[in-house]
Structure formats: structure tokens, C-alpha cells
């Protein structure tokens, strides 16, 4: 019998190269530019794709192994949580509304990210960045799945979680995250990576994940904490992809600098506007608070981000144009956003409420410059109405920003008593914006943004009614018909928390009883 020669094991580096870049080749039957048609038109010049550094050197077989182990742990925790009725241990049923916002507005973005990275992973010429994008694409799909599985336990016990994908496609406030991501993945692959990997994942992600996950920990939601941890190790890989992509573009050609700078300006601002939802969650929706939005902004944006842009200065990159306005906004945006959802709560798919007196005091303490002066008064006024059984809901539709699609709630920098207005004309029509930064985004790509699907305008065009409704005369309660189209049960999925089934159920499970208030 022949003695078999023992195969030599490859070293880690060699193995990585063999299993990733060496699987790529230059096409000869077809022109490379035809095979990769999307990575030149944005104007980014790449001279040497081999200069791309792969910081993680992860091969697919190792990737499956790590992710499989993480999944085993996560699903063990989810099972235990379900078997022990973990939802009974949360601080207060109000907390679940933060999860509703997450499954409605954040999880669908994970799925969009999966699609976007799959596209980028096909269309870059360089094999290194293709492999990194493909792995991230799988990560993002896994994040969507683990989030859906974790939150499905809550869906059995609380309203407002049963139809998140339909809502994501239809509801006015979910058009904010939806349009953000559709804007990103309808750009070219380099803009997509700058938008998602750098501006969002690298610069802003801590402001998304830390508040939600530490909020979950403080409020007794161990299932959500566990999916947070499970995603966290992927996030660090994603952030590294973001910074690597930026540095690679900047090092390859000086002509890339102004293009990248414009994308950073745009995507920082778009990401910041999107985070208004997180700011509100952090300051108003967590019964046990972690830190204020302002504190989180100071820690994760002002100090960490400040250091980052100092580092990028050597490439000729300056901080994003909206930076100072975003820093000023830390005193205001959470209050402005909560005020919005409080008054349009009958048209959303989660509950809102007036903070309790000790929570108002917490807000005063955390926002000494703005809360008592500008926001406490209106909350107390609404609270008084509610005491008199006249809970106020705003029955008329708001004006929206053409770019971020948020109702025009943001005030002028330096004057929190005045809404900020910006307007332009394009091809004979008027367009309105919440800020100079959103207006500038429009100016660069007006042909893209004249197509914005603005929920309020769509309602008036008759596009958001069920099929049995005549859009020209929708009857005596158009809002009711729109809710029917959204698939939201009025008063059950939305409205004031105090009058909600969520509240009365939760109290009943804990053995507390109270008369259910009318949800007007």
C-alpha cells in the first residue's frame, strides 16, 4: 500500500488569499467594464485594487463557524426567554413601544442593507471589497432574521408588531427610514459604501445600537440584549469596512476627495435626521432611562467623531457641513419628535404618552437649556387636556421635507420658536426642505428627488386608500380610510398608552387592575 503524503496545511494568510482573492479572475471573452458596469460612473478613480486591505481576513468556512456558534447561543436565550415568559419581567409595558419602533423602522433596514451589500458585492471590480461586501450582506440578512425571531415573542403578547413589512412600505413615518435606504442603494456602489458603511455604520451606529441595547438591558429585556450582542461583533467588522473604503478611495486619487466629501456631507446629514427617531426613543420611550440623547450625542458623535475627522484631515477631508447644526440640535430633536408622535399617535402603529412628573423632571435636568423653556409647557397643556378626558390628536396632515421626508418640525438653528424653512424651484415647481442641508442634497441630484414618494402628498393624490374608496371623495374620515390601507387597527395598535390594550393586559398579567380610559 502506498503511503499517502500528508497535505501541507496552508498558513492563515495564504489560506485567506487562496480562499478569497485567488477565486477571482479577469474576464477575457467579455470586456471587464461590461462585466462590472457600475464602479466607474460615479467618478471614483481606482488605479490599483490590490491596495485594498482586508482587515479581517475571514474566509467563508470560518465565517459560517463563528456565526453558527453565535446563533446557537442566541436561540438558546430566546427559547429560555419565551419559556419563562420573559416579557413579564420588563420594567413597564411602555417599553415595548421602543421594540415596535425597532421592528418597524430598523429591522427592515437590515434587510435593505442585505440587498444593498449583495449588489455592491457583485459590482465592485476589486475582489477584496467584493468578499467583504458579500459577507456583510449575509450578516445583514442574519440580523433581520434574529431580530424578527427575538421580537416575535413580544408579538404574541402586544399590539403593533404584526405587520412590520407592510407598514414599512406604506406608513408615513416609516417613509423616513425607507427613503433613506432607497436613496443609498439606488446610488452607485461607492456612494452606497460611503453612505452605509462609513457615514452610518462608522460615524453614527453607536448612536443607534447602544441606546436600543442598553435601553433593553436597563428595562429587563434580555432577549433583545442578546441579539444586540450577537450583532455587535459583526458591527465592528462593518465599521472597519467603512473606514477602509473611505481611506482606500482617498488614497487612490486626489480627484476622489471632493466626491467623497460631498457624500460624507450628504450621508452624515441624512443619517442624523434619521436618528431623530432614536433620540425620541431614548428620552421618552424607556421607562428606565440610560442616558439622554444629548449625552449620547456628546459622547459618541462630538468626542469620537471629532477625533475621526481630525484623523481624516490629512486626506483633505473636513467634518460634514451639517456638523454644527447637528450639535445644536441635541437640545431639541428628541422633544420635537416626541411632540410629533404624541399628536399623530392615532395615525402611527405604537403608543405615546405624557411623561410622568418624575420623568419630566429628569428631562429638565438633562436639558437645562431647552426643556422647561420650550417643551414642558406643551406637554403639560396636553396632559391637562387628557386629565379632562380630552386627549388631543392632530387631525390634519403636516408639510414634509422633500429629502428626509420628516414633517417640517425642526426649528431654525439659534431660534427654537421658529420652524426652519428652505425652498427652491426646479423645472417650474416648488420644493420645500427642513434645512439648508436637505436643500443642498436636492440641488445636487434634483432629478432623483423630484420622484420622492412623500406620504402626505400621496394621500392627497388618492394613492393610500383601500380599493373600495373613491380617492377623489374618501368620505367623512379620510384618516380612518388611510389607516385601513396601512393595515393598522385604530386605538389598538396606536393611540395613547394609558387607554391601550397593551397597558390593561400587562397590568392584568401582573395582577393590577385599573379602569380603562377612553381612547379618544
Amino acid at each position: 500500500m502506498d503511503t499517502r503524503a500528508k497535505k501541507k496545511k496552508l498558513g492563515l494568510k495564504k489560506r485567506y488569499t487562496t480562499m478569497t482573492r485567488d477565486l477571482s479572475w479577469d474576464t477575457t471573452y467579455q470586456d471587464m467594464d461590461k462585466v462590472f458596469p457600475y464602479d466607474k460612473y460615479e467618478g471614483i478613480k481606482i488605479h490599483d485594487w490590490d491596495k485594498w486591505e482586508d482587515p479581517f481576513r475571514l474566509t467563508m468556512d470560518a465565517y459560517w463557524k463563528y456565526q453558527g456558534e453565535k446563533d446557537k447561543k442566541l436561540y438558546a436565550v430566546i427559547d429560555a426567554f419565551a419559556q419563562n415568559n420573559g416579557h413579564m419581567g420588563i420594567s413597564d409595558a411602555r417599553y415595548v413601544n421602543a421594540l415596535k419602533l425597532f421592528i418597524q423602522g430598523v429591522s427592515p433596514l437590515e434587510y435593505y442593507a442585505h440587498r444593498g451589500f449583495a449588489h455592491a458585492g457583485r459590482h465592485f471590480t476589486g475582489a477584496g471589497v467584493r468578499v467583504a461586501s458579500q459577507m456583510q450582506s449575509i450578516d445583514e440578512l442574519r440580523h433581520y432574521q434574529t431580530q424578527a425571531h427575538t421580537i416575535s415573542h413580544y408579538n404574541r403578547h402586544f399590539n403593533g408588531m404584526h405587520d412590520n413589512i407592510k407598514w414599512f412600505d406604506r406608513m408615513w413615518y416609516l417613509a423616513v427610514p425607507k427613503s433613506f435606504f432607497e436613496d443609498a442603494f439606488s446610488g452607485g456602489p461607492f456612494e452606497f459604501l460611503t453612505a452605509v458603511s462609513f457615514s452610518f455604520e462608522y460615524v453614527l451606529t453607536n448612536l443607534l445600537f447602544v441606546p436600543f441595547m442598553s435601553g433593553a438591558a436597563h428595562n429587563g429585556d434580555m432577549a433583545t440584549v442578546t441579539f444586540g450582542f450577537s450583532a455587535q461583533s459583526d458591527e465592528s467588522r462593518h465599521m472597519t469596512l467603512g473606514i477602509e473604503c473611505i481611506k482606500f478611495m482617498l488614497e487612490q486619487d486626489p480627484d476622489n476627495v471632493p466626491i467623497v466629501q460631498r457624500w460624507i456631507d450628504k450621508w452624515f446629514w441624512r443619517g442624523y435626521r434619521l436618528l431623530s427617531l432614536v433620540a425620541m426613543m431614548q428620552d421618552y420611550m424607556l421607562p428606565k432611562r440610560v442616558m439622554s440623547w444629548k449625552e449620547a450625542w456628546e459622547m459618541y458623535a462630538e468626542s469620537n467623531g471629532g477625533a475621526l475627522f481630525k484623523d481624516l484631515a490629512r486626506y483633505g477631508i473636513r467634518p460634514p457641513k451639517g456638523w454644527e447644526d447637528a450639535c445644536e440640535g441635541k437640545h431639541h430633536i428628541s422633544h420635537q419628535a416626541w411632540g410629533t408622535f404624541y399628536q399623530y399617535s392615532h395615525a402611527a402603529a405604537f403608543h405615546t404618552w405624557i411623561p410622568k412628573p418624575d420623568e419630566m423632571d429628569w428631562l429638565s435636568k438633562k436639558y437645562p437649556e431647552s426643556f422647561d423653556k420650550h417643551y414642558r409647557g406643551r406637554l403639560e397643556h396636553w396632559g391637562n387636556l387628557q386629565q379632562r378626558d380630552e386627549r388631543w390628536f392632530n387631525q390634519h396632515l403636516p408639510m414634509l421635507c422633500q429629502i428626509c421626508q420628516i414633517p417640517m418640525v425642526f426649528t431654525e438653528p439659534g431660534d427654537p420658536t421658529q420652524i426652519s424653512f428652505h425652498e427652491t424651484q426646479y423645472e417650474g415647481a416648488k420644493y420645500h426642505f427642513c434645512s439648508g442641508h436637505c436643500k443642498e442634497i436636492f440641488h445636487h441630484e434634483p432629478r432623483k428627488y423630484v420622484q420622492s414618494w412623500l406620504p402626505v402628498h400621496q394621500i392627497y393624490q388618492g394613492a393610500c386608500y383601500p380599493e373600495d374608496i373613491n380617492p377623489e371623495s374618501p368620505g367623512d374620515s379620510p384618516v380612518r380610510e388611510v389607516l385601513r390601507y396601512y393595515g393598522v387597527v385604530g386605538g389598538q395598535d396606536n393611540g395613547d398608552f394609558n387607554a391601550s390594550q397593551d397597558r390593561s393586559n400587562f397590568d392584568a398579567w401582573l395582577g393590577k387592575n385599573h379602569p380603562q380610559e377612553a381612547n379618544k
Binding site: P37, Y38, Y41, G43, G188, Q336, G339, T340, Q343, Y344, K373, H374, Y375, R376, G377, R378, E380, H381, W392, N394, H396, L397, P398, M399, L400, P407, M408, V409, T411, T417, Q418, I419, F421, E423, T424, Q425, Y426, E427, A429, K430, Y431, H432, E440, H443, H444, E445, P446, R447, K448, V450, Q451, S452, W453, L454, V456, H457, Y460, Q461, G462, E472
Partner: protein, 131 residues
């Protein structure tokens, strides 16, 4: 408008699509945006479809109370003293003339200020409120 950097979007081919909110899509109405300056109880200005021949007086008499009437200061407004502006200039409305006769158009923003009542410094029930 900064015409210098207008529309520098690179595309992979012909890229022309109709504007989604053009005037012809609203059943003969214009969308009009209405803002009561400094009154932030209403989180944002309103967007309403209005007939182009609506007299300005009807806007004040019928539309504004429907939109803003729940604000505690609304009833105290002295309409003679109200200052009106569109997105660029102040104007003096003629209550008998229509929106079209005022030179407004689809997606015009109309703002009004009520000098004695500046929501953010209003007093209701002897208590200082801010909204």
C-alpha cells in the same frame, strides 16, 4: 438657489422621470402649506389641498379655524393685525380675491404672524406656557 452645483448627478444612462407631485395630480386643487409662526403646539405646518379659486377670506374664515382652532390662543387673534408672508415676502391679502389672484401656486407656503400672541411666550390660566 445655487445654480452652480445644481444637478451634477452621474448616471448610467438616460435619467428622466416625471415629478411625482406635479400640479395635475391633485384633482384640480393646489397643495398649500400653512404655518402659524411661533405656534409649535402643531408640530409642523399643515399641508392642505385647496381650490385655486378659493377666496382668501374663506381661507381665513373656514380653513384656518379647522386647522388651528384647538390652540388656546386662536380665538384671541385680531385678524386686522395679522402679518402675512409667503416664502419670500410679506403681502397684504385681499379677502375677496382668490388664491390664484394673489399669485400663489401649487405648493405655496403661506405664513402668518400674530404679533400680540407669540405662542412661545403665551400665558394660559395665569401660567406661562411654551408652545
Amino acid at each position: 438657489m445655487n445654480a452652480v452645483n445644481m444637478d451634477c448627478m452621474p448616471t448610467i444612462g438616460d435619467y428622466q422621470f416625471p415629478a411625482r407631485d406635479s400640479e395635475d395630480k391633485f384633482f384640480g386643487n393646489w397643495l398649500i402649506y400653512l404655518c402659524w409662526d411661533n405656534h409649535l403646539m402643531y408640530c409642523a405646518p399643515f399641508c392642505v389641498p385647496l381650490p385655486t379659486n378659493l377666496p382668501f377670506g374663506a381661507l381665513v374664515r373656514d380653513v384656518l379655524p379647522m386647522l388651528f382652532g384647538e390652540h388656546p390662543e386662536f380665538e384671541q387673534i385680531d385678524w386686522q393685525r395679522v402679518r402675512w408672508s409667503d416664502s419670500s415676502d410679506e403681502f397684504l391679502p385681499d379677502f375677496g380675491k382668490s388664491l390664484a389672484q394673489h399669485g400663489f401656486g401649487h405648493k405655496t407656503l403661506i405664513r402668518f404672524k400674530t404679533p400680540a400672541l407669540e405662542g412661545s411666550r403665551g400665558h394660559i390660566d395665569n401660567k406661562q406656557l411654551a408652545f
